[in-house]
């Protein structure tokens, strides 16, 4: 079974600065997808970014980018020019590319605080 680990329960960053959230995972599969979801205080789950394991190029979405290290099974999220609205719980998630109706497996989450 796949596992996802987020070793940073809490992180803080100054507004306009850059912060990196860490995520590691364990799998025996070669093809899979990785995601970062954001959960603000409203508790809605919002997709931030996704990465296909077969792609070497790191995904980017505006101020959000990932550092995907397949051999190390590491998938970190970098938030540049942090804004107050970025404050939320961030979850890393894994999904198999092969299993029908495949589930998302989530990490424990990292609570990000953005200081003005």
């Amino acid at each position: 079974a796949q596992t996802v680990t987020q070793s940073q329960p809490e992180m803080s960053v100054q507004e306009a600065e850059t912060v990196t959230l860490s995520c590691t995972y364990d799998t025996s599969e070669s093809d899979y997808y990785l995601f970062w979801y954001k959960q603000p205080p409203s508790r809605q789950m919002i997709l931030v970014i996704r990465q296909e394991a077969y792609k070497q190029q790191n995904a980017t979405e505006n101020r959000f980018s990932v550092n995907f290290q397949k051999a190390a099974k590491s998938f970190s999220l970098k938030i540049s020019d942090s804004q107050l609205g970025d404050a939320a719980m961030y979850f890393c998630a894994y999904r198999s590319a092969w299993t029908s109706g495949s589930r998302l497996t989530f990490g424990e989450g990292t609570q990000l605080t953005v200081n003005p």
Partner: protein, 115 residues
């Protein structure tokens, strides 16, 4: 932009009562999911549903849970006899395709409180 909707936003029930949580997935999506999140914990998979049957279920999804797509738009999660430990946020999600290529989009959640 299409989105997943869920009703009610908050449900309070007495232990032992039945509850039905409702979801309207994005209209052209074919795969549907339920997840739950106990307060302060990670999000956990419950069940996936495709073509009017369960594709996969977790160990959490025992006989007290059931899912149904009663019509062309709704997707429901029923808990037959609620327990205190069922108190959680329940999220519905949908995706257009499976095999990982379909990103799962989540609804806003239903907060279930069992007294």
């Amino acid at each position: 932009e299409p989105e997943v909707t869920q009703t009610p936003s908050h449900q309070v029930t007495q232990m032992g009562q039945e509850v039905i949580l409702r979801c309207v997935p994005i209209s052209n999506h074919l795969y549907f999911y339920w997840y739950r999140q106990i307060l302060g914990q990670k999000v956990e998979f419950l069940v996936s549903f495709y073509n009017n049957e369960i594709s996969e279920k977790s160990e959490i999804f025992d006989d007290q849970f059931s899912v149904e797509r009663p019509d062309g738009s709704n997707f429901t999660l029923k808990i037959r006899s609620t327990k205190l430990e069922d108190s959680a946020m329940y999220f519905c999600a949908s995706s257009e395709v499976t095999s990982g290529r379909g990103t799962q989009y989540f609804g806003p959640g239903t907060r279930l409180t069992v007294l």
